[in-house]
């Protein structure tokens, strides 16, 4: 080996090691932020956590209290969001996968638009629902909040339903159709049964996404200092309360905001990890 080629060889090796080191450093960089954020949230949240969080309503400025009304409001609006977004999403996803084979251009444009909705800024969807369901009615309401959350669930469920149904082996459709079963029954009783874990995962991931969602609720459900179970009135939600309390100058409000942040983060992370684990265990076996 000549000197020149030895030098070149060494340079290539050094470049390679350098690139690998940077790759490891980049990964460490990403994990560093994750650890920092989770540590801060859990540390502050655990200190602020108390039974009162779940039994008392949000206090006036500087006072003591809990988050009961906000937790209840979040629950109500998330349930509304899933009830609105999931059925529509399952229906649209089924259409894309099963009933649009003769209109490929139309099908692809719906998929394209759905993919855009999937990453569209939630604040924009909130503004849309504001003009749709707040301005026209004249007042903020939990209804409007639920609709805006439903619009965030919708594309997630459309996508997972579409993808899961496409994974169902064709022999299942053919076997069922050959028995003379109408297509809607094939879809509901055969395909949905095979695709249920995938679709459920999509719904759970959609729920995980909306449970920490703040921006659209600012213009739709607004906030409410008091307990309410009337979905036609403004309603508190944990994320909006966190926003309001964290931006305030009061220490007791900050503590409540941390407690809320802890509850929301724990819920969202457990839900998304759980949904993925459930999916990995029950996914459709494409090898068959």
């Amino acid at each position: 080996m000549s000197r020149a080629s030895g030098f070149r060889y060494r340079r290539r090796r050094v470049t390679d090691i350098f690139a690998k080191t940077l790759g490891i450093a980049a990964t460490a960089f990403g994990l560093f932020w994750l650890t920092w954020i989770l540590l801060v949230t859990f540390n502050n949240g655990l200190h602020a956590l108390s039974p009162a969080i779940f039994s008392q309503t949000t206090p006036p400025p500087g006072g003591q209290g809990g988050l009961a009304n906000a937790l209840f409001g979040s629950l109500v609006m998330c349930v509304l969001g899933v009830l609105i977004g999931a059925p529509l999403g399952i229906a649209a996803g089924t259409y894309l996968s099963e009933f649009a084979e003769r209109q490929p251009a139309w099908r692809e444009s719906v998929r394209f638009v759905n993919d855009i909705l999937l990453s569209a800024p939630s604040i924009v969807l909130g503004l849309f629902v504001y003009t749709l369901a707040v301005r026209s009615v004249g007042h903020f309401s939990a209804w409007a909040g639920g609709i805006s959350l439903g619009l965030i669930v919708l594309p997630v469920v459309v996508r997972t339903t579409d993808e899961t149904l496409r994974l169902v082996p064709n022999v299942m459709r053919e076997a069922a159709l050959s028995l003379g079963i109408p297509r809607w029954k094939v879809t509901v009783q055969v395909l949905y049964r095979a695709a249920a874990p995938g679709i459920l995962t999509g719904v759970l991931l959609g729920l995980a996404r909306i449970s920490g969602e703040t921006a659209p609720l600012l213009f739709t459900s607004l906030n409410n200092q008091y307990w309410t179970d009337n979905i036609n009135t403004p309603m508190a939600s944990v994320p909006v309360v966190i926003f309001q309390f964290a931006m305030s100058p009061y220490d007791s409000w900050h503590a409540l905001a941390w407690a809320g942040a802890f509850v929301v983060t724990l819920f969202v992370l457990l839900l998304s990890v759980g949904a993925r684990a459930y999916f990995l265990r029950n996914r459709i076996n494409t090898v068959a």
Binding site: R12, T15, D16, A19, K20, G23, I24, A25, A26, T27, F29, G30, L31, L34, I37, L38, V40, T41, A91, A92, Y95, F99, S109, V110, F112, V113, D115, I116, L117, S119, A120, P121, I123, V124, L125, L127, L132, L154, P182, R183, W184, T187, A208, S211, G212, E213, T214, A215, L218, L222, P239, F243, A246, M247, H254, A261, V268, L269, S272, R276
Partner: protein, 330 residues
Amino acid sequence: MSPLPATGVGLSLDDKHIKARAAAETRQDAFFRGLLFAAAALVLLVLGAAAASMLWGGRQAFATFGWNFIVSDEWDAVGRQFGAFVPIYGTLVSSAIAMVIAIPVSFGIALFLTEIAPTWLRGPVAAAIELLAGIPSIIYGMWGLFSFVPFMAASVLPWVNRNLGDAPWIGPLFRGPPLGIGMLTAGIVLGVMVIPFISSVMRDVFLTVPASLKESAYALGSTTWEVVWNVVLPYTRSAVVGGIFLGLGRALGETMAVTFVLGNAHQLNKSLLMPGNSIAATIANEFTEADSDIYLSSLIALGFLLFIVTFIVLAIARLMLYNLARKEGR
């Protein structure tokens, strides 16, 4: 002997029954199909209606201020003069900072997850990076305000001021009081937020490169880096750009995290250390305070601008990603 009724009467009865049932099933199928079609059409409708309703809601601002709405930097709620240059500038600059951080880091993570890490480590690390995407943006905001901003103010910004403040060309960008809140902080937080999105796309598309291509390059004596740079990247180029645009779309529209750390100041500043504003943060902060029709209309018009820009960016991202999918024959 046939168990079926052999008489003409019996047959015609059965026939009628079968026909009636077939007709009912056709009707049910058509109904079911129509229902599903309506749901799919709704997806298209939502996007179209969102754009139309915001254009309609913002018409007063567009009509009153015209081009000045975009180019003027005067945002005066009392004098009812609204020019959105400051938030537009803030959105673009903070997203640019985010991309400067997120692109190389995401590439490094994708490199680590596909080529460097031992196989047993890949799953857990990928899941941990994905967790970063699962954390709600309000949590980023709170952490940013209470932990990251003080850290920037105490440790990072004084250093930046000392070492970069007097540098030629870029000096003015890094000169200013170390408030902690500001464009640079917001850009870094945004960067951290979009890393999981870009890196997971990059990792997924890197995995689609046929093993035979990579193995051929290895067989010719290439190093890992040379395989990635000369084989993997050219093969996945359009999808990698697509992933980057996907992250950019996220950064442009991100609201809560930015609202906490950007400072909500309607001033144009050369320095990245000074507070600014972004489109999404302006809407989130001021929407409930809008006391006049023109104020509200201006905020909705801002939403419309944000919608158009993110739509274009996300559309480019999707088209780039479809390119690779088509090449794959999927």
